[in-house]
Every structure is written in structure tokens, then in C-alpha cells.
């Protein structure tokens, strides 16, 4: 039996912790949480939430607990195919995660329990569906006590959603800096004045920020009031209505021009789709990361074969449209994420270990890098050999589309700058990749000057 490795993100709550041993993911539940755990199962809440797809299922495990002095039992939760973070979600994903959290809280209240936290990091996605992964997030409801998770909910969900909807969708990236959610005083300052006229935002952001300032040093309450059960329900319903009232639409030319593969004729696209599909059938990868996926047209070639596929793009509008299509298709094998490959998600949090970098969450079995290379090599000035080294850390199979200099997309990138990219051609690419990859096939795409490579890591 191997050593248990405690998950670095699992230290805040003393109710238990997550560990891996011999590749198995387990959760130790501590004795201090026994009563709450038995209530969660005994009340029927666990089964109800699992049946609704809102909570991960688990089974009792025979693994010995890593900390037996504290242990009540060990669970083996169902695994989520890929751990993603709120700063990698589009507006629609964050909104669904927020609504799922509130739905869980409503169902918990109905069974005499409550969420003791409301962290967006406790939510993961199975395809388009958000699911709570922390089985130890529940506690017995103390009716007279306010909701412990209220502040966290507003910081992790409501503030970023309001900022994305009312100021700029790119403000979701504040979650990358503020790992416990966007401070409400900051959100209040950034939101437009009109947000004060929306009752939900006025209450849960502006008044909330004011209350935090005013009562920052309070040790005894200014109010001697007590919560009631309908008070708890009222709060959750009001938060729900506030979240539902927030919308974001990808509009404007900046988004729209992206969605068309303007450099391709219909026959060219058909040919590129057919070539990619036949490569996927040939290599049969277990997982695919489609980098620079746009709205996910090529990602779906993989996910429709039942291959778990990440569909990564740095354009919030493209990811939003991709996500909306996923909601309609309900495929559990496709996950669109908002990541800028020139600056991918780093390792964050305590000791830089709480949230994994993109690279730590790999490698993928296959990467699709279609119409991506010019963005990395020319727009980001990355040398081809560095790109090759990066890919070799991330994948075994690489499906790479080379976009030559004469292509109008590359010409556009070069139109106002010096062409310092002497080796940016097929020969230069093959030379730069030769050290880390073996070229398996090289196929020109019909009616275009582009070439599709299949490479395997050496």
C-alpha cells in the first residue's frame, strides 16, 4: 500500500480532508463531523442531492485513514474528469454554479440543514452541470443564527457576476487575484451607480459592504434579532432572484468576427473536419484538450466520440457561446474553459498549492492546436522551439495546424509590425519540433495554404 498524499487544498475545514493513495481519491471524515454526516445521510438530503445531480456520490471505502486518531470513516467520492476553477468559467457557468449552490442551500434548509460554506471552488462541472464536490459542507441548521456562507456566496458568486454583467465580463479575472472572492467594498466601488437601484445588488453588495465597514470591529451585535426559518428561505430566494436577474450577452464586432472561419471555403472546413476526425479515430486518445477552440466546432469531433474534451479559448464571447451549445447538448464529455494560453492559470493560494496550474492538471492524451500557432509564435513572440517544449509537457499526441505567413490571418498580425520571424515556415516548424516530437503525418488542407500535422511525443 502506498503513502497517502493529502490534497494541498484540503486544510481549512477540520471536518475531514481529501487524500490520494495509489491513484485513488478518498476523503477522511473526522469524528468531529460524525453527527453532521449521519444527519446528512439519515435525513435523506444526501440521496436527494445526488439524485438531482447536485452533489457527488460516494461510497464507503476500506482504505485505512491517514489520520486514524481523528478519523470517523473514509469515503471514496465519484471522480470529476477535470478540476476547473471559477476564474476559468464563463458568465453562464459561474451563474449556474451560483444557482446550484442556492438550490442546495434551499433543499438543505427544507431538511433542517445548511451549507456551512459557499465556496465557488467547491463546485465543479460534469459537462454543463454544476455539482458540489464537498460532502462535508453541511451542518445542522441553527435557525436563529444567520447563514455562515452568506458573505462567501456574495464574494465568490454575486460580486463577480454583477461586475461581469454590469461593468465588463473580463472582471471575472479578479477571482484569480482574490482567491476568497472579490471583496465587497471593491465590487461596490467598481459597479456603476445604477446598480444601487437594483434591490438585490443594493442589498447584497452595497449595503453588505457598508455593513462590513460599519460593524468590522463588532464583538456584540447591534441587533438582538434572531433569524427564523422563513428568514433563511427569504435570504436564499432573494439571492436567487438577484442572480437570475443578471445577464451577459456576447455582442459587438470583436466577438462576432471570431466565429467565422473566414479563411476557409466550405470545402476547406469540411476537409479540415474530416482530416481531424480521421486522426482522432486513428489515435483514439483518452482525453483531448482543444487549445484555441473558439466555439468548439472541432472539440465536438472528440467529445462526440465519448472522449473527455476540454475546449479552451481566451475569448469570453466564444466560451460563452460554446457553453450555451453544451447546455443544449448536455454532453458530459465537453467542458469549455476560459484560459489565455499566453498566460495560463498559475498555481495559487497557500504555498502556491491550493489551486493547480493548468500544466499540473495535465497532461492530455492529445492536444488539438488548430489555427493556434500564429497566435503563440507571432502575436506572443514565442520562439517555435519554446512552443514545442511546452506542448511536449502537455500531451503525447499533437494535432497541429500550421498557418503560413501568406495566410491573411498572419498578415493581419504582421500588418503594423516588423516581421522578425524568419524561421516561421514549415521547415522552421519541423526543425523546432524535431527534438521533442516525431512527425507521424502531414496533410495539406484543401483550398487553403494550411497544413495539418499529427505528431507524437518522443
Amino acid at each position: 500500500m502506498g503513502d497517502a498524499r493529502r490534497q494541498p487544498a484540503s486544510f481549512r475545514d477540520r471536518s475531514g480532508f481529501v487524500f490520494t493513495r495509489d491513484g485513488r481519491l478518498c476523503r477522511q471524515v473526522n469524528q468531529s463531523y460524525q453527527a453532521e454526516y449521519e444527519l446528512l445521510l439519515g435525513s435523506g438530503l444526501y440521496q436527494e442531492l445526488v439524485d438531482q445531480g447536485l452533489l457527488v456520490a460516494h461510497r464507503d471505502s476500506s482504505e485505512p485513514p491517514p489520520d486514524p486518531a481523528l478519523a470517523f470513516k473514509v469515503l471514496e467520492p465519484e471522480r470529476i474528469p477535470f478540476i476547473s476553477y471559477p476564474y476559468e468559467w464563463c458568465f453562464g457557468q459561474l451563474k449556474r454554479a451560483a444557482l446550484a449552490t442556492l438550490e442546495i442551500q434551499k433543499r438543505a434548509l427544507a431538511r433542517g440543514q445548511s451549507l456551512k460554506d459557499a465556496s465557488a471552488f467547491n463546485i465543479q462541472f460534469r459537462g454543463p452541470r454544476p455539482v458540489l464536490i464537498d460532502t462535508l459542507s453541511f451542518e445542522r441548521l441553527v435557525e436563529e443564527r444567520p447563514w455562515i456562507g452568506y458573505r462567501q456566496f456574495c464574494q465568490h458568486f454575486l460580486a463577480p457576476l454583477a461586475l461581469m454583467a454590469q461593468v465588463d465580463v473580463r472582471l471575472s479575472q479578479l477571482l484569480r487575484v482574490h482567491i476568497d472572492g472579490i471583496p465587497l467594498d471593491l465590487a461596490a466601488r467598481l459597479l456603476p451607480a445604477r446598480s444601487r437601484f437594483r434591490p438585490g445588488l443594493a442589498l447584497h453588495i452595497h449595503l453588505h459592504a457598508g455593513a462590513q465597514r460599519r460593524y468590522a470591529d463588532a464583538t456584540s451585535a447591534a441587533s438582538r434579532g434572531r433569524m427564523t426559518r422563513s428568514g433563511h428561505i427569504g435570504m436564499v430566494e432573494n439571492l436567487e432572484a438577484t442572480v437570475r436577474g443578471l445577464h451577459w450577452e456576447p455582442r459587438g464586432t470583436a466577438w462576432q468576427s471570431y466565429y467565422e472561419e473566414t479563411n476557409y471555403s466550405a470545402a476547406g472546413i469540411e476537409n479540415k473536419l474530416a482530416l481531424t476526425e480521421s486522426i482522432l479515430t486513428q489515435i483514439r486518445p483518452r482525453s483531448v484538450w482543444d487549445l484555441g477552440a473558439n466555439t468548439g466546432m472541432f472539440s465536438r469531433l472528440a467529445s462526440r466520440q465519448g472522449i473527455f474534451t476540454l475546449s479552451i479559448d481566451s475569448d469570453p464571447g466564444a466560451v460563452e457561446l460554446n457553453d450555451r451549445a453544451c447546455v443544449k447538448e448536455t454532453s458530459a464529455d465537453l467542458l469549455p474553459l476560459l484560459i489565455d494560453l499566453a498566460n495560463p492559470s498559475p498555481a495559487l493560494g497557500w504555498q502556491n498549492e491550493e489551486r493547480m496550474s493548468l500544466r499540473e492538471r495535465g497532461p492530455a492524451d492529445a492536444i488539438l492546436a488548430l489555427a493556434l500557432i500564429h497566435h503563440l509564435a507571432i502575436a506572443n513572440n514565442t520562439p517555435l522551439s519554446d512552443i514545442a517544449a511546452w506542448f511536449s509537457h502537455m500531451t503525447r499526441w499533437l494535432v497541429l495546424e500550421f498557418v503560413p505567413k501568406q495566410d491573411s490571418q498572419v498578415q493581419r498580425l504582421l500588418s503594423f509590425r516588423a516581421d522578425i520571424f524568419d524561421d516561421y515556415n514549415e521547415e522552421g516548424l519541423e526543425k523546432a519540433f524535431a527534438g521533442s516530437f516525431r512527425i507521424v503525418s502531414r496533410q495539406p488542407v484543401h483550398e487553403s495554404s494550411r497544413v495539418l500535422y499529427l505528431m507524437e511525443r518522443r
Binding site: 441553527v142 443564527r145 455562515i148 456562507g149 463588532a218 434579532g225 428568514g231 428561505i233 430566494e237
Partner: protein, 76 residues
Amino acid sequence: MIANWLMVPDIGGKAQVLLAYLDPGSGSFILQLLVAGILGGLVALRMSWGKIKARFSRRPPEPDDTPTPPEAKPGG
């Protein structure tokens, strides 16, 4: 007192301190106490209104055969 809200009888009837592992924030706690009365009142009102509506809108063809809807306590 904030600390007093956390002193509640446990299942066995013994007083137990229920301190959260997460800092809920004093301002966030107090705001909830201030507004939950209003929001909870609206919920209670809606629930009672729903019951009144249900009582008058359901007109059973034979009143004796229809079971009375259970009394739900507004506001719990």
C-alpha cells in the same frame, strides 16, 4: 451577542458551542439579522396567501370526500 447565537442545545440537550470554521463576518451576520425579518416576512406572507388561495380555488365537487390540506406553519 454574536457568541450567544452560537450557543445552542445539541441533539442530546446539552449546550454546545457551534462555532463555524469559516469567519462569517460580523457585518454579514448583522446585515442578515436586519433584513431577514423583512424577507422572511414576505416568504411567510406568500405561504399564507398560497394557502388561502388554495382553500378558495379548490372547489371539490363533493366536499366531504376531499381531505383538508395540512396546516403549514408560516415562518416555521
